[in-house]
Symmetry: C2
Subunit: 343 residues, 2 copies
């Protein structure tokens, strides 16, 4: 409390050298002699000196802070990604500053100013439909933006998504091969590209396979929304298979079917999700789902950021990570279907 902050000047005084010398010792790649290094470090350790990142950032213009804009952490996919992202960035000397938006359908407008105020070096947005111009404004300010698990038509923006189209097609093939004839879809929020792409590709793929999508309801990426959608679906369209826009909603659907309506899954209705969060692999759900490899997606995100921050590439990248269908017990398995997918 009474401890005054120890600065590079204090160290310099104790070591009997100039402040710039101290600065250079703590700046990788600066020109310092062996002897000087030794001397300064000894003094620094004695005083417990560490450079002030904020003061440093003021002059270098780099804060080593990455902003993360996120809407909700209820869907386990996001905490998992957050954990990986934070760890990966930490290894590179960056840290994550968290900005929560209200709800999953916000455009992030409330936090964008906050973000810029903190002079973040980069920006990752997850689970939020950030409007084009907001993100573009950041890019204009020289801040690289990566949309994580969400696309936007704007060609200026970086994106990392899984291949939603291929994924949805894989699910369609799987369900058709399994002999289902009344296939429905509970989609995510249509304001998000992820939700739209999966829905559109699923519908199109079914038609390629000679089927028509029986019905589509929107679950708004929320548990309650999905439960409602499932109830409507079973009351009216009566499908024998449901592809749900993500795992988080799929769990709600399975709960409604099994525990509220007494329907056997997969005996009477097959359920397939999207994401492959940890819970999907637990036997209580044992959910067949399309894995979005969050590890690879995070790697790609970090790659893009580093390219930009270290001044390598500058062209916007749209990376699309391939997923694989995880065949488990919530959907009928076609004869002869092998894990990893048939042709």
């Amino acid at each position: 409390m009474t401890e005054r902050k120890v600065t590079s000047l204090d160290v310099a005084a104790l070591a009997g050298v100039s402040q710039s010398a101290v600065s250079r010792v703590f700046t990788p790649g600066a020109s310092v002699s062996k002897k000087m290094e030794e001397r300064v470090r000894r003094a620094a350790d004695a005083l417990g000196y560490r450079p002030n990142v904020l003061a440093r950032s003021l002059i270098t213009g780099r804060s080593r802070i990455i902003g993360l804009v996120v809407g909700y952490l209820e869907n386990q996919f996001y905490p998992d990604a957050l954990e990986r992202l934070s760890t990966a960035l930490q290894a590179k000397g960056y840290h994550i500053l968290v900005f929560m938006t209200e709800g999953s359908q916000s455009d992030g407008g409330e936090v964008i100013q906050d973000l810029l105020d903190y002079q973040v070096d980069g920006l990752v947005t997850a689970s939020v439909g950030m409007t084009d111009d907001l993100a573009a404004r950041c890019e204009a300010a020289g801040i690289p933006v990566v949309l994580f698990n969400r696309g936007q038509d704007d060609p200026r923006l970086n994106e990392v998504t899984s291949d939603n189209t291929a994924g949805a097609r894989e699910v369609a093939k799987f369900l058709v091969a399994g002999g289902h004839r009344r296939i429905a879809h509970i989609s995510g929020w249509h304001g998000s590209s992820t939700g739209r792409e999966r829905a559109a590709a699923f519908r199109a793929s079914l038609e390629e396979l000679g089927q028509r999508l029986l019905a589509e309801e929107t679950g708004a990426f929320s548990r309650e929304g999905a439960a409602e959608a499932a109830r409507r679906l079973m009351r009216e369209a009566k499908p024998d298979a449901i592809f749900v826009g993500n795992d988080h909603m799929a769990f709600a659907v399975m709960d409604v079917l099994r525990f509220e309506m007494g329907i056997d899954v997969p005996g009477e209705v097959s359920v397939v999700g999207y994401d492959d969060v940890a819970l999907a692999g637990w036997p209580a759900y044992d959910l067949t789902t399309l894995r979005q490899p969050s590890g690879a997606m995070v790697e790609a995100t970090v790659d893009i950021l580093m390219d930009r921050l270290e001044g390598r590439a500058t062209a916007p990248q749209k990376r699309r990570i391939a997923g694989t269908l995880m065949v488990r017990g919530s959907a009928r398995v076609p004869d002869g279907w092998e894990q990893g997918g048939a042709r």
Copy 2:
């Protein structure tokens, strides 16, 4: 990219006033005339000016950044708390900088330096057994530290926990009242106060009620550890009820019992958890558990931080939030037991 950063000097020049005037307009509570305010704001808006938080923090000595040290986000309790904490702090003009430690049993030593480098105004540690002297070092540097959901004997440190002793006693009463006679416990990690307290209180409470704890295994707060513990327990001690140190482990235990060993829960074995994460309320698990009110715990955390940051209180606080038993379907319910607990 080529856009130079717009500073208070630019605004001052455009408005034809001094830089200090601009500063004052953006400093709440400073002395500015109506006319000046109007004039500066117009210029600032025209240029898109916003004060640089980092430069500001350099001079005020407050960064408006709160460090959060966290070990893993797999246990849903923590993402939930993170979300609440971030939202609450944001409302007060603070933001969370995330520091991940390796695994749940780290002492946080790797990140402590990073933390201090960023000049955080305060520190919250969750799911990590931060050693006393590290936290004490932060306090010595004038940074308030709150241990979230973890206690430490050091009287200098702030803590927010649920009342583990009362909670464990409630569970003991519930299980005994339910007619169980072979009661076992799968504890968390004994390096954590949370784990120790729950285990000790549970054991003691059983003895007060005239029973002996049948067996205790450690689950190390991990899914795999808990599963192993459950297998050992059922192989050897054969309990008719298991109190598990947190929900995250309890789910693993239920999965092993039901799907691996074909044991009926709660017919043959009752399972009780601790935390009441969202998943506990989903019908697939329908877990009876002691609710840790994360909302109230976060409120208390923010309270303590604000007291210190706004220079009110300075004495360390140890807040203990009361929990309530959520009676659901994973454990036999004693006749006449009412939700909210019997006397």
